[in-house]
Each structure stands twice: as structure tokens, then as C-alpha cells.
């Protein structure tokens, strides 16, 4: 069977966008192949590693698990949407300053997961940072410099990193 393609419209990094694609095509592939936004990476392709993380309607999703038809009407943010007017996002600056990126494959997903975490919890403690990034695997850094990058971002943004018990969230 050759299934009919579908036209999907969404807002991507602040701009209206329309693509025509097979409805089950992964949002990841639409971003990379149809829209040529190759910042979003593929790692495992089965929702385990977080490399393809993007934000959809204010939530973090694995774009490898989103059939593009379900992005209809969505507001999407990819790593390309973090920097504004040529200036890096505070998280990107912190990843640079703290050595939070090495080979770079996990980095876009890490940045999006960290952006999601800080959007819902601007003052995460270290346990919350670990949980927020638990679905993102890095095989280079050993994670500590990534966690430190998030800690520094929150601190630089005027947030004090408090140690709070998880149940007080």
C-alpha cells in the first residue's frame, strides 16, 4: 500500500511552516530532511537516548517517536530556535563555558531537555537536574559538566540553586 501523504502545518521556532509528507514519517526526519534543520540528532531512534529531543507545545518530546501528522497545529522549538538574533541562549553559553559539550551528538537534546527543565522549574536542585536530563544519554562527558552547565545557567539567570526535597516541588 502506498499511503497518501498529508500536509502538516505547525509553528517552528517562531515561524509558520508547512510540509507534505507520509503521515507516519518521524518528526525527526521531517526536521532534518524536509526542513534541513540538522541540529536535531538521531541516536537510538527508539526513544531511549534523548538525542532527538525537541519541545512541542511546551513539553519535551522525542522527535523520533512523533509521527508528523501529530504535529499538526503544534508549536515546536528545536535547538536552532534557542539562540535569538545571533546571540547564544544562556544554556548554550554555559555549555561552552563549563565544557558541557564534547562530541556534540547529545548536545542539542541536552540543551532542549535543560531548556524544558528551566522553563517549568527555574530553580532546580541537583536531583531535579538529574531527573530532568535522565532521558538524555552522553557517552563523552560523564554528565557532571552537563549538570554543572545547567547549575550555572540557573545561577546566572538570577536563580539561586537551592537544595529542596523532591516532594516540595
Amino acid at each position: 500500500m502506498n499511503a497518501p501523504w498529508t500536509t502538516v502545518r505547525f509553528n517552528l521556532n517562531g515561524e509558520a511552516c508547512a510540509v507534505n509528507a507520509p503521515p507516519i514519517k518521524r518528526l525527526l526526519d521531517v526536521l532534518r530532511e524536509d526542513l534541513r534543520l540538522t541540529g536535531t540528532k538521531e541516536g537510538c531512534g527508539e526513544g531511549e537516548c534523548g538525542s532527538c529531543s525537541v519541545r512541542m507545545n511546551g513539553e519535551l518530546v522525542n522527535s523520533c517517536l512523533v509521527p508528523v501528522i501529530q504535529a499538526e497545529g503544534a508549536t515546536l522549538q528545536t535547538v536552532e530556535g534557542l539562540a535569538t538574533n545571533g546571540e547564544l541562549h544562556p544554556l548554550q553559553k554555559a555549555f561552552l563555558a563549563c565544557g558541557g559539550a564534547q562530541c556534540g551528538i547529545c548536545t542539542p537534546g541536552m540543551l532542549m531537555a535543560a531548556a524544558q527543565l528551566l522553563a517549568v522549574n527555574p530553580h532546580p536542585n541537583i536531583a531535579e537536574i538529574r531527573e530532568g536530563l535522565a532521558g538524555n544519554l552522553c557517552r563523552c562527558t560523564g554528565f557532571m559538566r552537563i549538570f554543572e552547565s545547567v547549575v550555572q545557567t540557573a545561577a546566572n539567570e538570577g536563580a539561586s540553586i537551592e537544595e529542596r526535597p523532591a516532594h516540595a516541588r
Partner: protein, 292 residues
């Protein structure tokens, strides 16, 4: 090898009525897809995926949590992020809140749905033991109407359930009557996030005058589907908690459990750990330890 994207028809009718009409016209032909955390993984791995998929993502009539004082109704397309963020669930059904928090990771919880977890019927399903010990009811809907059944009767075999081909899971209902119960849930996996349970055990119980007056025990990965441990419950009902009853409860669990060897663990490990979890729960029940 990855599945062919051209080989699948996916439609998104946008309303519950339109989805039910579509399914009713060709019962069994259309497979619902919500957050895709099962079907998209299978497709990526080249495992068989239904040719015709109907998207139930983004249908508000299926994504709701409705507090009805005596109970709470959870729409089938409610995500585990939705559950985690809900104060009444956290307060009155804390085991469900805890289970929601350990499903995959943030990016999975924002897409994985309650209905998907239940209908998929994995023996290791994270939310199922909690639903079982809270006496959940399942509400099924079709163009013919709706019906309710105990969740404990829903699974009928490995990845098989009591749904008719034209039915859709509509909601899960949890009675609000566990405020006095001691509650327990523990999952054993390889790491805190992203792990599928080697074994998980849930329980709710009332201890009155030193005797167990009410008890429910349920497990994941001990049988072909998530299941109540009725022999364990029988062994404990009306009993005090002491070394003799703990021993007989362990024996009942070891007799009742039907785990298998697979890539995640062995049957023997699962049996022994499940018995240890049961013992941990009983000791906490006796000592009044309220920590989760």
C-alpha cells in the same frame, strides 16, 4: 530494519465520535495511536505495525482528569506528565503518581498515555500494579455505547484483553477510598530512569486491631499480564503480621508467580525479589512506616 513510512495510513479525525465511527465501519482494521511510544518504537525496529492507524492524540475528549468526589476519572489519552502534575492524584492515589514519575523519562511521560500503557498490556506495565490495587474500573466506548468492567478482568492473556474490535478505551475510574490504607509500590529495574521493570509489586492494605482486614497485592512481570496476586491476598486476609504469616505469604507468592526468563532478568530472580518486596511491605505495614 526500519519500517516503510509509505506503507502506513494514518488519519486524525479529531473527535471521539469520528474515531468511533471510523472504527465501527471496519472493526479491527484500525489501530489507535496516541503518543506513539510503543507503535513508533516498533515501527523503527521493523516489527509489525498495523497498516491503518487512527490518531487519538490531541482529542480533548480523551485527555482529561475529572474529580468526581467519590472517584476520579482519567481519560485514556491522559499522559503520565498530566498525572504527575495533578494534586488530587498525588494526594489520594500516590502510587499512581509514583509510577507515573518512573515511566521512562520526561520526554516519554509527556507522550505516553494511560490508555496506551493499559491496552498495550505489557506484563511489565508501570501503571498497572497501581491501578490493580486501587480497584480501578475500565470504561470502554464504541459507537454502540459504553460499558464498564473491573480492570482486574481486563487482561485475558499475553497482550490480550476483553475489548471488542470496535471498542476504544475511554477512561479509567479510581474509587476514592484508600485514605486509611497503607500503600506500597516498588519497582526493581536496572536504573532509576528508562528501565523496564524486572519486577514490580504494589499493595494496599488496612490493619485493624493487629489484623489485616483488607488487602490487595498486584505485580508486574510475574505473569503474562499485570495481575492481582489473589493467593497472596487470601494467605494474609484476617491474619496478624508475624514471622509465620510472612513466611506463608512468601510461599503463596512463590506458588502463584509465573515469571519467565528474558533479556531483563530470570524467573528465579523475579520470584525471589518479589517475595522480598512483599516481605518489605508487610514489615512496613506492621511497623506503621509510612515512607514510600
Amino acid at each position: 530494519m526500519r519500517g516503510n513510512v509509505e506503507a502506513h495510513l494514518v488519519v486524525a479525525p479529531g473527535s471521539l465520535a469520528a474515531v468511533l465511527d471510523l472504527i465501527a465501519a471496519m472493526p479491527g482494521e484500525w489501530t489507535p495511536i496516541a503518543g506513539g511510544t510503543e507503535i513508533m518504537v516498533a515501527h523503527a525496529a521493523g516489527r509489525p505495525v498495523a497498516e491503518k492507524l487512527v490518531s487519538i492524540w490531541g482529542i480533548p475528549e480523551l485527555r482529561f482528569i475529572e474529580d468526581r468526589s467519590e472517584s476520579i476519572a482519567i481519560g485514556a489519552a491522559t499522559t503520565f506528565s498530566d498525572l504527575r502534575a495533578h494534586a488530587a492524584i498525588d494526594g489520594d492515589w500516590p502510587l499512581l503518581s509514583a509510577a507515573s514519575a518512573w515511566i521512562g523519562c520526561v520526554a516519554n511521560q509527556s507522550r505516553a498515555t494511560v490508555g496506551g500503557n493499559v491496552v498495550n498490556g505489557s506484563p511489565a506495565a508501570d501503571s498497572s500494579p497501581a491501578f490493580l490495587v486501587y480497584d480501578a474500573e475500565i470504561e470502554l466506548v464504541s459507537s454502540r455505547g459504553s460499558r464498564r468492567m473491573p480492570y482486574a478482568a481486563f487482561h485475558t492473556g499475553y497482550k490480550q484483553n476483553a475489548m471488542a474490535p470496535d471498542e476504544l478505551l475511554y477512561a479509567i475510574h479510581l474509587p476514592r477510598r484508600f485514605a486509611r490504607h497503607r500503600q506500597y509500590l516498588r519497582k526493581v529495574g536496572t536504573r532509576r530512569a528508562m528501565a523496564i521493570a524486572k519486577v514490580a509489586l504494589a499493595a494496599t492494605a488496612l490493619l485493624e486491631n493487629g489484623q489485616i482486614s483488607e488487602i490487595r497485592v498486584a505485580a508486574a512481570s510475574l505473569a503474562p499480564f499485570p495481575t492481582r496476586m489473589l493467593q497472596v491476598e487470601t494467605a494474609l486476609l484476617g491474619q496478624p503480621i508475624n514471622s509465620i504469616t510472612i513466611r506463608s505469604a512468601r510461599a503463596a507468592l512463590l506458588a502463584e508467580a509465573r515469571p519467565i526468563d528474558d533479556i531483563r532478568s530470570t524467573a528465579e530472580y523475579r520470584r525471589q525479589v518479589a517475595a522480598n518486596l512483599l516481605q518489605e511491605f508487610l514489615i512496613k505495614l506492621r511497623t506503621g512506616d509510612t515512607s514510600k
